[in-house]
Symmetry: C2
Subunit: 439 residues, 2 copies
């Protein structure tokens, strides 16, 4: 399969490029900002994810001959624009929130600075990545909170687009998950891969005992056996008979999980398999996980609700021009005035302030470039923007496995610094307010 | 970017392969079936989409040396299994519902027949594709119904994963949409691409008039101008001044669309631009579209709610082993008995019956292979299963642009053959029942 990031893009980015190359506006310096006007209903915070993937794709943001021919043949752009695109390389600057950082309405999650032409081409891809990945990471974070110290694992690949599944696995790691069933994600991002067997494995064998024996012969006694294909009590008995009390774990994928987990725990303990763990995996979301707090469960496998953002399958992030050069070459804040979609003009700075070591406010500061340059945050305000790309040079520390692990750690730390309400599953307002100041 | 379909897969498919290659069960002939136990709440029908993409990826379902090294290094499979995988090629048979076909609970949407080993490896990918693509096509179909004769266009790419966006554009075409903003989908599937300019295009110019003039210079008078960046009334006046009454169209992306469309229509007519069309694009779903029925709107651009399945971002399709060879080489229906997830054993036939030219029942028939071979449907029952792959040979008529257009036509026809209730947006039961008969 051939995926060209540069064409994973709405047509109007190219028609705007074409028109502005013609009239010169393509060369105007611009600042675009990604933000959301609201969190999903009742959510207290969001978790940024996907920025590292944007950097990966920025490196591949070139058009092949076939792509260029397509743009020309369909008359999407002129011959001159095709020429311009042949050597396209983003030469601007990108800064933004770290992956794993909490975000709120109007947080300037990403800022893209460059010419109008180059910034415009990136819009669709940036939004696709941030909107989906952050939706998954935000849901993951709530699930991980509900699970307390018990690990959550991504098993959702089959319930989302096959490539989205790879991104979801990565985003779930940012959001606090500890492993994924998805092999592509495990390979590409160095994530821990998990999984043993499905019901069909039991069914293809002549008996459950044959299936368990086969799995143990292949994966060892430390494996996790799926015990709900026929009768759970019988399956647990068979499992311990075949594997011995050193059986690694059992998995339950149906029924009343709290009741079943308790019964299976009792049975395992009575059989001497006191160290055998119990994994549950039946249509879990953060609420179901919270309801299992007192059940003897050791880990959670989450599918559908993880990869679909637990009711919020996309964030409402937008990519808006907030500042641009005018015809005299002076940078000028701009904003549209559309009813219900108005924007705050000007590039933003972003800080978080703390009281008693807990966050109490997100500060978004905008103004002319001179005023921003002169602005000094108050003591203790944390600067939320990091530099991802400077004049076209990508900072590679934000890509790859280590960056994901850093984001995973950062999420836990940043969440712990929010008021405790952030960890509530009750619907409510964003846990801290965002104060926007125009200098 | 490198996407290996064979690794866009849950790890347990490989560990099951490994264990069954060791004990011989990998070679047992099997039938797996894809179906859903329920439609999303209140939906009257679903629309199948994605099968052509499965065929595309089946052609690429090979493991690279790097993939094989990964499986070996992580000890996911044994050395013998790596050898087996080196030459992997699916040699089985796949049949199922056509793309664009209506489906209901328990419809056998896809049947995969082959050895346990080869069928197992396909599970995750098949479900990812069908679950997402069908969710989008099902939502699209409701929107198209609500829009009646007005065209619906996909503009949702930025609100879903960047590769999912390409699949969503394709699925929306199956579901009845007439064009997409997504260039990758337009290139790969030969779809009509649409789009002209965003708010940033107006903002980057010194005035709205400059922006409109630039767009017309580049795209001609027949282009669609976005008129809600500042003041809509002024923008429409400027638009007609700059383009003349032969202006192609205007787009409104915010505010109360019904009221605005009426005012803009009046203004355009008064300015003599009676042929200028009005496109609206502000967070539409099927209900919003239905509410605009009497507004003078010419086409709809749909984003978020299309690519997230309008409240149902995934189908609940599963892939279940329903029949397999036993140790004597005889095919045997099998089924798990898990509480709340039990399945009907045996391969299925599927028919739709009609009364007065309208569908009245979905008939799902299962039983031993001999009984199925002897089964004769009643007069007028339509056989719903087509052959996609026979003994590893893909029927290419189900791939590519023509297949999508055929599916687009088929959806319209199949929907028209359902009781009219199918076109209602009111919540309710599936519009026809599914009768399962075990012979």
């Amino acid at each position: 399969m051939d995926y060209t990031p540069a064409l994973m893009t709405d047509m109007y980015e190219y028609t705007m490029l074409d028109a502005t190359l013609r009239d010169g506006a393509a060369n105007r310096k611009c600042v675009f900002e990604v933000f959301t006007r609201r969190l999903p209903e009742g959510r207290r915070y969001g978790v940024v994810a996907g920025t590292g993937r944007i950097l990966d794709m920025l490196e591949d943001f070139h058009l092949s001959d076939e792509d260029l021919r397509f743009l020309a043949d369909r008359h999407i752009v002129s011959r001159e624009t095709v020429k311009w695109l042949e050597n396209f390389r983003f030469t601007g600057t990108i800064r933004g929130y770290r992956e794993g950082e909490m975000f709120f309405p109007n947080s300037p999650i990403l800022q893209v600075e460059g010419t109008f032409g180059e910034c415009t081409l990136l819009e669709t891809l940036i939004l696709s990545v941030l909107n989906y990945d952050s939706a998954v990471a935000s849901a993951a974070s709530r699930m991980v909170t509900a699970a307390k110290d018990r690990p959550c694992m991504d098993m959702g690949g089959r319930r989302t687009n096959e490539a989205a599944a790879v991104a979801a696995a990565r985003a779930s790691a940012v959001g606090g998950f500890q492993g994924t069933a998805n092999l592509m994600a495990a390979r590409r991002y160095g994530l821990k891969a998990i999984g043993t067997a499905a019901h069909c494995f039991t069914l293809v064998h002549d008996s459950e005992r044959d299936a368990f024996a086969s799995q143990i012969a292949s994966l060892g006694r430390n494996t996790t056996l799926l015990v709900d294909t026929y009768n759970i009590e019988e399956a647990v008995r068979t499992a311990v008979e075949v594997a011995g009390p050193e059986l690694g774990g059992v998995r339950i994928d149906s029924g009343d999980l709290a009741a079943l987990a308790q019964r299976v725990r009792n049975q395992l303990d009575a059989l001497g398999a006191t160290e055998t763990t119990i994994t549950v995996t039946n249509d879990l979301d953060e609420y179901a996980i919270a309801a299992l707090q007192t059940a003897p469960v050791d880990s959670y496998g989450v599918g559908t609700m993880l990869v679909t953002g637990s009711g919020a399958p996309t964030c409402a992030m937008v990519y808006k021009l907030t500042e641009r050069e005018n015809s005299d070459g002076v940078m000028q804040p701009v904003a549209k005035k559309s009813k219900d979609k108005a924007t705050v003009p000007g590039r933003k700075l972003a800080y978080r302030s703390y009281e008693y070591n807990l966050a109490d406010c997100e500060h978004v500061v905008s103004g002319s470039e001179e005023k921003l340059a002169a602005f000094r945050p108050q003591d203790g305000w944390k600067d939320l923007l990091v530099d991802y790309v400077r004049d076209g040079e990508i900072d590679h520390t934000y890509q790859g496995h280590d960056a994901i692990m850093a984001a995973h750690e950062h999420r836990a730390k940043a969440l712990a610094e929010l008021p405790i309400t952030a960890q509530s599953l009750m619907k409510g307002e964003p846990v801290i307010p965002t104060e926007t100041t125009v200098l």
